[in-house]
């Protein structure tokens, strides 16, 4: 490619000097360079903007893609972990329900077995058997001793007779005691009755016949104590009863006298004089009234 100086030299046919041509070339080059720089800058700016927009789109696309992918990964991990956790829970529950129970039973059985072995080692079964036998033997011997002691006493003839005789005497004494007690009881009752009768007789000996009859009737079957406590009260009752009877008779006599006064006034007057007190019919009448 030919430069601008050669083109101008051919076009102007050596009209322009070499210096002018060089100056023109310099100016031309400078101007062209400036324009080129401007264009390059513009192109670079446009390229930057374009690339920036594209990069943003790319980043967004990548972000979206990565987000989608991460979500899928998270979901997958969640599902996987959940499944694993479920398995762990099931395993744990199974272990807790079955294996723990088995372990517990085994542990208890082993401890129990260990204790048995330890006890067997420290206190052998033979020793226990011997101790139990000794205890049993002592009890049996005690029982045998008791039985034999009684049998020996009974088996001896002289002692046997004495025992039988003693038993008979005891029975006889018991019978006698029972009879004596019965007799004492009867005699005590009789004595109490006699005492009661005596007391009653003593108390009524100075009374008149009617009072005696009444007191005997009321107190004959009572005890001595009852008679002592209630004799005066019983007599008081009798006297009160007699007073009531006398009052009743008097009232009836007054009524009879009043009614006879209307029919036979003369008879009433003769009563008032008091001469009839010696009349035997009047006394008979009064004595009849006294009976009631």
């Amino acid at each position: 490619m030919s430069n601008i100086s050669e083109v101008l030299k051919e076009a102007t046919k050596d009209i322009l000097s070499e210096e002018t041509l060089k100056e023109i070339e310099n100016v031309f080059n400078t101007t062209v360079n400036e324009r080129v720089e401007l264009h390059v800058k513009k192109a670079l700016t446009e390229q930057d903007e374009d690339y920036s927009a594209k990069l943003e789109k790319l980043i967004e696309a990548i972000d979206t893609d990565h987000t989608t992918k991460l979500q899928k990964v998270v979901e997958a991990i969640d599902t996987d972990r959940a499944a694993k956790l479920k398995t762990v829970i099931e395993k744990y529950e199974t272990a807790l329900q079955n294996e723990a129970a088995t372990f517990k039973n085994e542990l208890v059985a082993k401890i129990s077995k260990y204790l048995e072995v330890y006890l067997e080692n420290k206190i052998p079964e033979a020793s226990i058997n011997e101790a139990v036998k000794n205890k049993k033997a002592v009890k049996v011997l005690e029982n045998i001793r008791n039985i034999l002691a009684v049998n020996m006493a009974v088996s001896n003839e002289s002692i046997k007779d004495a025992v039988v005789d003693g038993k008979n005497r005891l029975n006889e004494a018991a019978k006698q005691l029972e009879a004596s007690n019965e007799k004492v009881k009867t005699l005590t009752e009789e004595l109490a009755n006699v005492k009661a009768e005596l007391t009653l007789e003593k108390k009524i000996q100075e009374l008149d016949e009617n009072k005696k009859k009444y007191a005997r009737k009321m107190l004959a079957t009572r005890s001595e104590k009852f008679i002592n406590e209630n004799f005066d009260y019983t007599l008081g009752l009798w006297e009160k009863n007699e007073e009531v009877k006398t009052d009743n008779i008097k009232e009836e006599a007054v009524k009879a006298a009043t009614s006879s006064e209307v029919d036979r006034p003369v008879v009433t007057e003769s009563v008032a004089t008091g001469n009839d007190a010696a009349d035997p019919s009047f006394n008979a009448y009064l004595s009849e009234l006294k009976k009631y």
């Binding site: 517990k104 542990l107 208890v108 401890i111 129990s112 204790l115 048995e116 006890l119 206190i123 079964e125 226990i128 058997n129 101790a131 139990v132 036998k133 049993k136 033997a137 049996v140």
Partner: protein, 55 residues
């Protein structure tokens, strides 16, 4: 060993309580349950021995 079923159950319950109290470091209670188990086992042994005839 002639342990009855009821006795065995009782012993197992006592041993469980023994282990429980040991794990809780409650040694006094644990000792109580262990003593009961040992007593029960000894009684069972004595009972078995007492069934043997003397002669």
């Amino acid at each position: 060993m002639a342990e009855t079923t009821a006795n065995k159950d009782n012993n197992n319950a006592n041993l469980l309580n023994f282990v429980k109290h040991i794990s809780q470091k409650n040694y006094a209670e644990a000792n109580k349950y262990l003593k009961e188990v040992v007593d029960s086992k000894l009684k069972a042994k004595i009972k078995t021995a007492s069934k043997n005839k003397l002669f």
